[in-house]
Symmetry: C2
Subunit: 214 residues, 2 copies
Amino acid sequence: MQYHLAFPIAGENIFTMRPKNLEKEEAIRSIALQIIAAEGLENLSMQKLAKAANVSPRTIYIKYENKEDFLIKLFIDEVLGAYEKAVLENFSQEMDFAEGVKKIWSNTFQYLKNNRPHFALIQHGKASPLLNKAFQKENIKEGHFFAPIHHFLALNMEKGIIRNFPDDVHRAMLFSPLLDLVNEYFDYLDRPVQIITEDVLLECCEAIIKGMLK
Amino acid sequence: MQYHLAFPIAGENIFTMRPKNLEKEEAIRSIALQIIAAEGLENLSMQKLAKAANVSPRTIYIKYENKEDFLIKLFIDEVLGAYEKAVLENFSQEMDFAEGVKKIWSNTFQYLKNNRPHFALIQHGKASPLLNKAFQKENIKEGHFFAPIHHFLALNMEKGIIRNFPDDVHRAMLFSPLLDLVNEYFDYLDRPVQIITEDVLLECCEAIIKGMLK
DNA sequence: TTTGTAAGTAAACAAACGTTTACTTACTTT
DNA sequence: AAAGTAAGTAAACGTTTGTTTACTTACAAA
């Protein structure tokens, strides 16, 4: 007698099925991000994606219901998930305020700098109603993204270390200049002079910290 | 004998032609912005636009070479031009630093709050490679957008009032949290509690000013 | 080895895409 | 009133879109 999963998933007989080729799934997602970064979300089509990923269009529809479903899952699961994990690495909400903010800035910059396609979709997420709404829904359903940072801010507000602002205002001060600098880092990548250096980043971070303190 | 323009524009006999209906041109641009705001840049098509503007597709192509040309001109001429004008209203580069920044913040917030479709395209401008590149090109060709603000920052840097940063870093600190707050203003529009009030905005502005000062 | 399953493919679907063709309309000048 | 122009329209162009159909392949269980 064979051991089975206690609760086999309805509609899926996992014992006689051909296993999914995970490399193909990964290729689809990775190449989608590359196309979006290079040509913009408005120029991503399912057929172009399938061809670039060397896969039949049908293969994409095994895992995703339709194009919108694909984009939302790409954004929420693939991009925001990894982004959050990278930002929070070695960060703790008990850190000293300035120390914590610097850790967040350094993590964020390093990660985005090395993952331009992910950054591109994050940028689209602010502009596209589809992705924007999906993010808000997810944020309500699953508890907030970046919850440790929210606690960190709440803690420092209680202690009277930083100003009393709604959470979203703190988040705007903390992240939006930083993402703008990443954008500029990429804009200037091909030019003779590099403007966004580690030094400038750190100084700007200190300026933001000063502004947030009481 | 009739008086003619000294240099009639090649290919255009302006004396016997049927005059353009400027209302149609305006309708095309205005409705394009509305579609982009409601459905995203990725869901704007020329045929959809023509139908919504109650115009033949061909009419759009009288003024614009193709879709990309249309989007770029919509972004640069219609949106960024009006945006810059609104932001700089009653602003002077000789203003006291804090006073000047507050004026910019209040102008920007008021304008964007009342022109959501324009704001939507500005957001897309940061994500879409097409618009992003067009903006950079224009910025180099025509002198910088927001030149008075650049001078204002340079002046206050010379005087030793604010920190020494590259221009783009100052701009990131000045504008990006503000635009994020506008985004949140719209996100929260339909909810019971309004989070981004004039008071919060002013306090956040003061925090940013504090951070920028030496 | 056979069999059953879902993974995966190639080709095709109707619909929508960006753009153009062929034509009519509205206005100005003569 | 007649003539000439570009503005503007309706319909269509070939292509590409998102998605599906009909089929084959690869694997695990029996």
